[in-house]
């Protein structure tokens, strides 16, 4: 039951982009077209899930037993970067079609703050292994949801008659703020 709760909290209530405001760079940068946004979302979900699993292992099997939790940041970065590198090679060789969809997004998100955030939060909250994976997956789904909604709105904004001072990045940030307000409506849906 806790696993389901953690998942939905990560997707809706504590949405990474709209609640914690991490991962804003891809959220603003790759949200111009729904197609690209979907690919980005899938890539992020993919990496987040795997990151959650691997960093849980590193944290609980290496860092905590040896009394080195202060190495969290450094070791997570090393692990995540190497892992994504490997994933890229693996996918390129094994699933060329998937590689074309994810394309340049995979290496781009290696050093994304949202990914590191997953690793740090699950360690901070001492989740179990399965719960950690559910948390990472939920965070990814939440990110996808946010970026796809954003891309849909921005596609409409292309043809909208926006007052000149608000054009470009300004209106994008305003929309992000309004979206965050809307997502506050989910507060209290699940208490975790």
């Amino acid at each position: 039951m806790q696993i389901v709760a953690v998942f939905f909290v990560a997707v809706l209530v504590n949405n990474f982009v709209l609640y914690y405001f991490v991962g804003i760079c891809p959220f603003i940068g790759v949200s111009k077209k729904v197609d690209a946004a979907t690919s980005m979302g899938i890539a992020v979900t993919f990496v987040m899930t795997i990151t959650a699993a691997v960093t849980w292992l590193i944290n609980n099997l290496v860092l905590i037993p040896f009394g080195l939790p202060f190495l969290e940041y450094v070791s997570y970065i090393v692990v995540i970067a190497s892992l994504v590198q490997f994933l890229e090679m693996f996918i390129k060789k094994t699933f060329p079609e998937l590689y074309k969809t994810l394309g340049i997004f995979l290496p781009l998100i290696t050093t994304n703050c949202a990914i590191l955030f997953v690793a740090l939060i699950q360690a901070m909250r001492s989740y179990g292994f399965i719960t950690s994976i559910a948390f990472g997956f939920g965070a990814g789904v939440g990110f996808t949801l946010a970026i796809v909604i954003m891309a849909g709105i921005r596609e409409q904004l292309e043809v909208a008659d926006i007052p000149r001072p608000f054009r470009g990045a300004a209106i994008t940030l305003i929309v992000a703020g309004v979206l965050a307000l809307a997502f506050m409506g989910f507060t209290g849906l699940v208490s975790a």
Binding site: F66, L68, L71, V78, V79, Q85, F86, K92, K93, V159
Partner: protein, 294 residues
């Protein structure tokens, strides 16, 4: 003690992963054609889509892998074609193509055609056609909302003060974005050296055409007769209610339009669409026209 442990751990992680990645790189190595990168390097990297591929990289792959024609890059022109030929080790086939520029086939600016009412919809030509099909009075003419201006990646097409697009022939690379952007198919690509065109697409009968636009072709056939008198009957022909310059041999001369009562048949220098093509034009005029995009 803990320092040693920390150094050991990071060392093991670092070395372990580098060995692992090095091994994986060999194990999962995918052969890619080095020519793809080389071709991509000589392309202009503007990703305009003029060649029919979504990006320069996609075109480079098509050239290197699937033997696509090497002369499709309209932006780079002959120069790029030569460089691709050099990379691919093939000879350039045929003569160098002449530079093409976009030609706007309408002179119906606000002075000539005028607006029947106020259009307050989305500021996009295609949207205007779909929603109300109005802008100016002529239902064949330019809508004046500037979708072609927005489509141009090279800043080569601008709105004049009177609401008709004009082309900067020097900046135009003939990528064809404006051609597809125009919902009324008023823009075509033609060789830069050819001057004389009938700058109109109206199929309205003469009486109506004249009423809606001062510069419409009214199908009087004076230019056709002039061409015939010059022993060149193929140069200008009639297509319904519209005189059309033959674009297969480009033999029409500007003189055929001397007697054109509406100036629809015109040389490029005299048409409103090529303000900026005139080299000795006053500078303020160009600046005023260029700023109209906003």
């Amino acid at each position: 003690m803990i320092i040693i442990q920390a150094i050991l751990l990071m060392g093991v992680l670092g070395v372990g992963f580098s060995v692992f990645l090095g091994f994986a790189n060999k194990r999962f190595h995918v052969e890619t054609n080095p020519k793809v990168d080389e071709v991509e390097e000589v392309l202009p990297a503007v990703n305009c889509g003029g060649c029919g591929y979504p990006s320069c990289a996609a075109y480079a792959e098509a050239v290197a892998e699937n033997g696509e024609d090497i002369d499709l890059c309209v932006v780079g022109g002959a120069e790029t074609t030569t460089m691709i030929a050099h990379v691919m080790g093939v000879e350039v086939a045929g003569e160098d193509k002449e530079k093409l520029v976009a030609v706007v086939f309408c002179q119906g600016d606000s002075e000539a055609a005028g607006f029947p009412g106020e259009y307050r919809g989305i500021l996009d030509c295609a949207a205007a056609v779909y929603s109300q099909d109005v802008a100016k009075r002529c239902k064949y003419g330019c809508l004046g909302l500037g979708s072609c201006v927005n489509a141009c990646p090279f800043d080569a097409i601008h709105m004049s003060e009177t609401g008709i697009p004009y082309v900067d022939a020097e900046k135009c690379t003939a990528c064809g974005k404006c051609v597809t952007a125009c919902p009324r198919d008023l823009i075509e690509l033609h060789p830069v050296s050819h001057e004389a065109f009938v700058y109109c697409k109206s199929q309205d009968p003469g009486a109506i055409a004249r009423k809606v636009c001062k510069k419409a072709c009214i199908a009087c056939k004076i230019c056709v007769k002039a061409a015939a008198a010059d022993d060149n009957p193929d140069a200008v022909t009639m297509n319904g209610n519209l005189a059309v310059v033959n674009t297969e041999n480009y033999t029409a001369k500007a003189e055929y339009g001397q007697k054109c009562p509406t100036d629809a048949y015109s040389s490029r220098k005299n048409s409103v669409n090529y303000e900026s093509f005139i080299k000795d034009k006053p500078k303020e005029k160009a600046a005023a026209g260029g700023n109209n995009k906003e």
